[in-house]
């Protein structure tokens, strides 16, 4: 609303069935043994299909290196959670067989009308 500003951290939801992995034509993106998103840089062609595919814009392109900036949970201890001072981030799973956390991000983006702001999704 007027006079108020909304912020939302676009953090990767580590989906069990990630749209980015599905879209990757070279299989550079995958889920590793621990179920965490992994990027094999040598296999990445820089096509950007992963960025297009993520429904909530949680993966970005590093323009300089033409590689996606994908979340690897900092090897297990995500720094974003550690540094967040408002307590809005946590390492969570919802106990479902298929965690499609990105759905909750999408609802937030809908509720807060933030679609115009997403890089790589038409906004800037």
């Amino acid at each position: 609303g007027e006079g108020l500003v909304t912020c939302l951290p676009l953090v990767c939801q580590q989906c069990t069935e990630p749209a980015c992995v599905k879209a990757c034509p070279t299989e550079a993106l995958s889920r590793n043994g621990g179920g965490i998103l992994a990027l094999e840089e040598s296999m990445c062609s820089g096509c950007g299909d992963c960025v297009e595919a993520c429904p909530a814009g949680c993966i970005f392109m590093d323009e300089k290196r033409t590689l996606p900036i994908s979340c690897d949970l900092c090897g297990g201890e995500p720094q974003c959670v550690e540094l967040c001072h408002s307590g809005c981030l946590s390492k969570a799973g919802n106990g479902l067989d298929v965690w499609q956390g990105v759905d909750s991000m999408v609802s937030l983006l809908d509720d807060l009308s933030l679609w115009d702001c997403l890089p790589g999704k038409g906004g800037r």
């Binding site: 007027e2 006079g3 108020l4 540094l83």
Partner: protein, 641 residues
């Protein structure tokens, strides 16, 4: 300039539309960044005969050197120009997200010269800088304008600062607002912006900031974040913002002043916040998030912290915090400094109380203490120069001259700028206000003699007073090497206390680190941490001593600017109304006067102050010897010394 700095100063001339850049490098070593570099740019670039609303006045934005990094609280931008309030130096800081975005876009400072021939806004998108038409935005308030600018630029992530109707109408107390409620509000920077027909500045930056030793830099930041999380004061501020601290402060101030208004007992900022808070809001890289955001039906939305809660309640004998909130939202929307509104209303209420003005002078509305009718809508009237607003829009001294009848004697104004009604006339406040280039500066509020004064009025006898300030004297010894600085009855050590506060705020203002992260309110980020971060960031060794020296250069520059405007030692004064307010219900010649000050004491403290800065005792101006010693021969040259 590979590291820490963006490396470029942007120069925009609104008269001929020319845009150019120059390197930050020649300025950084002597002046660090932010307010330091601004002061040099202003001193070099504005002539004494230039008036505040002349096209030749410069409006300068300076981003602190650490801004854009994860250093906690490094978000601040300094705004500077010749001021329509003081007629000389003008300066105001703001937090939020503009600073970081400017650094990411590639600029450390912006110098705005000239005047556009129609309303314009500045669009800065990395290297693409445009002066764009703002006719459709002119007239819109500060809540509507950023949305319009972002819409037109098709960039919802652009950071926008703008003026409202107050700035457009050259109201001297006009402010510059950001979308997150940050305001460069004091000394009329919004009016200068309006005088240039500049409605807004929009920034989007996509470059990074180079850091010489990134891993160590990040570790330094993390250490500070940890220290903050362990800190008791951090946890308090993080939960209740500044409401609890400010509640206590207002009560303490009024107890010292001699509070005869019982209404203050029912003012509870914390309760108001707990009842209505929407969420906490903070600035770039700040873990404290001290702003309280509200969205109250029928009253308005926005974010506020600290001063306005007291300025628009206690100082106006208004106990209704909802009236404060409505009046505050008006100020935000219209782009008017809320403190100046408070100062204006308090003055009018005092005039009304003493029969110097009546309701007929104020559009039929009696300016009774605490009256909601008197308070609400005044921001709009001033911003649009309607009715009594037109008289007030050119500042209180000008209004007093027109009203006459003794109204000038009741002005609480220093160097043209109004002071808060709750300012306590203890010795450090008298000195700090008298010597400050902008009049009352809320950043320079020495704690030790203030708390000593409070102990004095609470003490039963001399002996218990002496013992109650023993540990404050210990602290005074540690901080400034003078035990007696904590004794409110003597001038000893008071200049040292003021210099200590000035040094702290100068270091913050040059590096962009917010004072609220420092011992100013009991948080642990100090000058040593800042020096370490500057070293790791820039790759050059920067010490606390270097920062102190740069701070002195800043003080010399501010003083030199004033000198060129014709100011001297005689202008370093506070009005009679300042001293006379301490506990008026008690005998004037009693012991209470010991903890205040008289003219002779103020002159003694000024001597101490000038001596510590190497300024001439007769004129109050820096000498050539001092300027050369501190690396400012070019300033001495320009002063004609």
């Amino acid at each position: 300039m590979a590291n820490l700095y963006a490396g470029r100063i942007l120069r925009v001339n609104l008269t001929d539309g020319r845009v150019s850049t120059e390197s930050t490098a020649p300025y950084a070593e002597r002046f660090i960044g932010g307010k330091g570099i601004n002061a040099k740019l202003l001193f070099d670039g504005v002539e004494p005969e230039t008036r505040p609303f002349d096209p030749d006045n410069l409006l300068v934005f300076g981003v602190g050197a650490l801004v854009g990094t994860p250093f906690p609280g490094a978000s601040r931008v300094d705004v500077m120009a010749k001021s329509p309030v003081t007629g000389a130096f003008g300066d105001s800081g703001m937090g939020g997200y503009l600073g970081a975005e400017l650094k990411f876009a590639g600029y450390d400072n912006i110098v705005i010269d000239g005047k556009a021939d129609r309303p314009v806004y500045l669009s800065i998108m990395d290297d693409r800088v445009e002066i764009r038409d703002a006719i459709s935005m002119w007239g819109h308030d500060t809540y509507e304008t950023p949305a319009m600018v972002r819409q037109e630029l098709r960039d919802q992530s652009a950071k926008v600062v703008c003026i409202g109707p107050a700035g457009e109408n050259l109201v001297v107390y006009a402010s510059i607002l950001s979308g997150t409620g940050n305001a460069a509000a004091r000394t009329g920077m919004g009016a200068v912006m309006g005088s240039k027909n500049l409605k807004a500045i929009a920034v989007r930056g996509t470059k990074g900031i180079g850091v010489a030793r990134p891993r160590e830099f990040i570790n330094e930041c993390k250490k500070l974040y940890e220290a903050l999380k362990q800190n008791r004061m951090y946890n308090e501020v993080h939960k209740v913002g500044l409401t609890r601290i400010h509640d206590r402060e207002m009560r303490g101030l009024y107890e010292l002043l001699g509070n005869t208004w019982k209404g203050g007992e029912s003012i509870h900022e914390v309760e108001f916040m707990n009842e209505h808070l929407l969420r906490r809001v903070g600035c770039f890289a700040c873990p404290v998030a001290c702003f309280d955001a509200y969205n109250i039906a029928g009253a308005g939305a926005g974010s506020a912290k600290c001063s306005p809660y007291g300025d628009l309640t206690w100082d106006l004998r208004n106990a209704d915090l909802m009236v404060f909130w409505k009046a505050f939202v008006e100020c935000q929307r219209y782009g008017l400094d809320a403190r100046s509104l408070s100062n204006t209303l308090a003055w009018l209420m005092e005039l009304h109380e003493h029969g110097i003005i009546s309701a007929t002078d104020t559009d039929g509305i009696p300016m009774t203490w605490g009256s909601p009718e008197a308070i609400l809508d005044m921001a709009r009237k001033i911003s649009y120069r309607e009715g009594i607003g037109d008289l007030l829009a050119d500042g209180l001294p000008a209004a007093a001259r027109k009203i006459g009848g003794g109204s000038e004697d009741r002005l609480l104004v220093v160097k043209g700028s109004p002071s808060d009604l709750h300012i306590v006339p203890v010795k450090t406040r008298a000195l700090a206000n008298a010597v400050s280039p902008i009049g009352e500066d809320a950043q320079v509020q020495a704690f030790l003699d203030y708390v000593g004064a409070r102990r004095f009025i609470q003490a039963k006898d001399e002996a218990s007073f002496e013992s109650s300030i023993e540990h404050y004297k210990d602290r005074a010894e540690r901080e400034v090497g003078i035990r007696q600085a904590a004794d409110p009855r003597t001038t000893e050590g008071k200049a040292a206390l003021v210099r200590s506060d000035e040094e702290r705020t100068d270091i913050c203002d040059m590096t962009g680190v917010c004072s609220w992260l420092t011992p100013f309110i009991g948080l642990p980020v100090n000058a040593g941490d800042i020096a370490t971060a500057l070293s790791l960031g820039s790759g050059n060794t920067v010490t606390v001593g270097d920062l102190s020296k740069a701070g002195k250069r800043l003080r010399h520059l501010e003083r030199a600017f004033g000198t060129r405007c014709g100011l001297t030692r005689a202008d370093d004064m506070v009005p009679d109304s300042f001293a006379r307010r301490l506990r008026p219900e008690e005998p004037a010649a009693g012991s209470i006067s010991k903890i205040s000050f008289n003219d002779a004491e103020l002159e003694t403290m000024k001597d101490d102050y000038y001596r510590s800065l190497g300024w001439d005792l007769l004129t109050g101006n820096p000498t050539r010897e001092t300027l050369e010693k501190d690396g400012l021969s070019d300033v001495a040259d320009r002063l004609g010394l």
